[in-house]
């Protein structure tokens, strides 16, 4: 294992110490493994919390900030936070108008967040709702779309739900809009090399020197095929074809696109990919709004990329463009 760290057991806590120290205007850690806004919850505003395993920065906790999220529970690398940490995040997000739990569809996270909701209901009378991201089109077929895992599409849902909550909409309305944003996202990934979970000390999968895997999940979950590395245009064509087969776009449609590095893939290669993405949607006649190219949802040092599309209507586009800020994404 070749990683810059002290003790693998301290990986997450030392990361969070530095994270909060570097960006005190956006993040505070009021309790261990809970990141919240330094000014506390906003009174009268619906709170939005997320949570999940570490190893994906800026996801999850990087998206706490004005116009985005209010709090986040942080687990070990690729492991769910505890229900108590999630309950604590909910309390720190509660401004008296209820709290939306907005996170990725993973079994452990769902169990613990449901449990956390019951805790704050019993102890604090906080009303909570849930919206799960399930945007990875490879992780289950269209007929079982509710079983899909949540990946990079969640950042669009964070942005849009956050903007809706900022209008002082009530919990049901914020939940509706978050669900609408989640339902509009489609993502697909591909990988070239694995990442190493610090406490395991070894790679979570192996790929041959000149191989790639199409459709691989963000934790190295198996994809669709594994074969010799293809040219960028051919890779992007297949990714876009698969997205379009799941969610067609036609002339005049509006969408945003995220071309995201899984960690080690450089911006240069993401732009080579985006060039082809733009050509594809130009050919359809669909207009890309606010494209995002960069490192938004990663798997530590994994080499590879994901492409996410979100179909926009007037409402989603308005919330996407509303002002918001965190250390990794600023709008307006």
């Amino acid at each position: 294992m070749k990683k810059i760290l002290n003790n693998p057991a301290d990986y997450v806590d030392e990361m969070l110490d530095g994270f909060v120290a570097a960006h005190p205007e956006f993040y505070a850690q009021p309790e261990r493994r809970v990141i919240a806004r330094p000014e506390g919850a906003t009174s009268g505003k619906v709170g939005i919390v997320t949570g999940g395993g570490s190893g994906h920065l800026p996801v999850f906790t990087g998206y706490v900030g004005p116009g985005f999220l209010d709090a986040c529970a942080v687990g070990d690398v690729f492991a769910s936070p505890s229900a108590e940490q999630m309950a604590s995040a909910i309390r720190h997000a509660d401004g008296g108008a209820g709290v939306l739990r907005l996170y990725g569809n993973y079994g452990g996270d769902v169990m613990n967040f449901d449990m956390a909701g019951e805790m704050v209901d019993m102890e604090n009378d906080i009303r909570t709702t849930t919206v799960l991201l399930a945007d990875d089109i490879v992780s289950a077929g269209k007929d079982e779309a509710e079983k899909r895992r949540g990946v990079a599409g969640m950042i669009y849902a964070f942005k849009i739900a956050g903007a809706c909550a900022d209008t002082r909409a009530d919990l049901d309305e914020v939940t509706r809009v978050a669900q609408k944003a989640a339902d509009a996202c489609r993502s697909i990934g591909m990988a070239l090399t694995p990442c190493i979970v610090p406490q395991a000390g070894k790679a979570n999968f192996e790929l041959g020197e000149n191989e790639m895997e199409m459709g691989m999940g963000i934790h190295g979950e198996p994809g669709i095929w594994r074969d010799a590395l293809r040219p960028a245009d051919q890779i992007v064509d297949e990714m876009i074809d698969r997205i379009l087969a799941d969610h067609p776009f036609s002339k005049g449609d509006r969408l945003s696109v995220l071309v995201n590095s899984l960690g080690a893939t450089p911006l240069e290669e993401l732009y080579i990919m985006y060039r082809k993405v733009k050509q594809r949607f130009d050919a359809i006649g669909a207009e890309i709004v606010m494209p995002l190219v960069g490192r938004y949802a990663t798997s530590m040092e994994m080499t590879g990329a994901t492409i996410t599309t979100i179909a926009l209507d007037e409402e989603l586009e308005r919330y996407l463009k509303a002002p918001a800020a965190c250390a990794y994404w600023r709008v307006g």
Binding site: S82, A83, E84, G108, M111, M115, M122
Partner: protein, 199 residues
């Protein structure tokens, strides 16, 4: 036991913590055949924490403390399921400082339903859910004096009933053939818990 209150709950938890500690090696070994071999640790650590928790007089809040204590020390899926069961009992009992023994079957049934919903598990898949279901049915309407014996008998009978049948839930389902020959570790843990609780 005619009524349940916070002090009696604490005493029962202390008995279960002792029983779980005594059974830890057996449960680890059973789990090691099919999973990662830490079920004994999960159960003994969880009940030890619940037994040490400060329990308020309100039984709902007392069960909530059990749930949180269990969850804190064992966040594995079995730990989360047990914590879910305690949480369901907490909701049913909220606002009462004592519960008549006749109310206990409803608590067990509520725990079963919540655990089935959370674990997305079905009955008949050879898991702890089958033990809970059998137990809930066995004590329903039973004479309070007989409830403990009925519960132990039901937990024991469940293990018997599933001999030769494969596990269809959790990691053990990946060893279908092997799991058919073995006791389900979760069902075995449940038996040890009930035995200790009523001892």
């Amino acid at each position: 036991m005619a009524t349940l209150d916070s002090a009696r709950l604490k005493a029962a938890l202390q008995r279960v913590a002792e029983g779980a500690a005594a059974a830890a090696a057996e449960l680890n070994a059973a789990d090691g055949q099919l999973g990662d071999g830490d079920l004994g640790i999960t159960v003994s650590k969880g009940f030890a924490a619940a037994a040490e928790a400060d329990l308020p007089d309100d039984l709902g809040m007392a069960f909530l403390e059990c749930s949180k204590a269990f969850q804190r020390v064992s966040s594995s899926s079995y730990g989360t399921l047990v914590a879910t069961g305690f949480m369901a009992a907490a909701k049913s009992a909220k606002g009462s400082e004592t519960l008549d023994a006749s109310a206990i079957p409803a608590l067990v049934a509520a725990a079963r339903d919540a655990m089935m919903a959370r674990g997305k598990g079905e009955l008949g898949a050879k898991s702890v859910l089958d033990s809970l279901d059998a137990c809930a049915k066995a004590i329903e309407g039973a004479d309070p004096a007989e409830m403990g014996d009925e519960a132990v008998a039901a937990a024991r009978q469940t293990l018997q009933d599933f001999k030769g049948r494969p596990c269809k839930l959790g990691r053990a389902r990946m060893f279908a053939e092997k799991s058919a020959e073995l006791d389900d570790p979760g069902q075995l843990a449940f038996l040890r818990i009930v035995e200790a609780a009523v001892s």
